[in-house]
Amino acid sequence: MATKKMAIIATKGTLDMAYPPFILASTAAALGYDVQIFFTFYGLQLLRKDLSDVKISPLGNPAMPMPVPMPVMVQMLPGMESMATMMMKQKLAKHGVASLEELRDLCLEADVKFIACQMTVDLFEFDKSEFIDNVEYGGAATFMGFAGDTDICLFI
């Protein structure tokens, strides 16, 4: 049986949206899939060595469960984003959910290939030295080269 393949495009850089690509990629790799993640636009933030800037905001996120109902006018106050992020991280840890760093390391350990979108790196003038080492740089055609032959292909 040929090895199954999965390709993911990761486009979001918030804490909540950072989890699905790494969870699905690490799981697929554990199931024997050959996996690549193409990081583009805000998804590039997930390749930084330091992930402490990956946050969650209650603002514009009405589905986010809150311990107490919070009016939008309060959500916009300075420090609310950091507070929400801290609370979410505590919740994740309490429930035994791995940190982003841990999941990302598990992906790398399982030979998940990370590709950063060169165009967005240039667009946002990101410094490649701020990214982890195990990253290749390419464009849409690079992604298609792998994605065109996959069993699962997701845009997150």
């Binding site: 799981t27 554990a30 199931l31 024997g32 035994g96 999941l103």
Partner: protein, 75 residues
């Protein structure tokens, strides 16, 4: 049931029990049995799916006191 290795996955959430099972199996020989203890209720379906997709055999599973125990035989 006899087993060759035990994996304590208590307190871990998806996808860690599966990923750690895969890693534990990687260090074992064919036909050896891995015992996995999990507290994640989602792992009941996930371990079965893992076995089905990887070809390792889920020999047995038990549930007691909020813990789920699996015996996985490496293919």
């Amino acid at each position: 049931m006899n087993f060759d290795k035990e994996l304590n996955a208590r307190g871990l959430s998806c996808p860690l029990p599966i990923v750690k099972t895969k890693k534990a199996l990687a260090d074992m020989a064919s036909n050896q049995v891995l015992k996995v203890i999990s507290t994640d209720s989602g792992s009941v379906k996930d371990m079965a799916a893992f076995a089905e997709q990887t070809g390792n055999a889920l020999l047995a599973q038990e549930e007691a006191n909020g813990e789920y125990v699996f015996y996985m035989k490496k293919k």
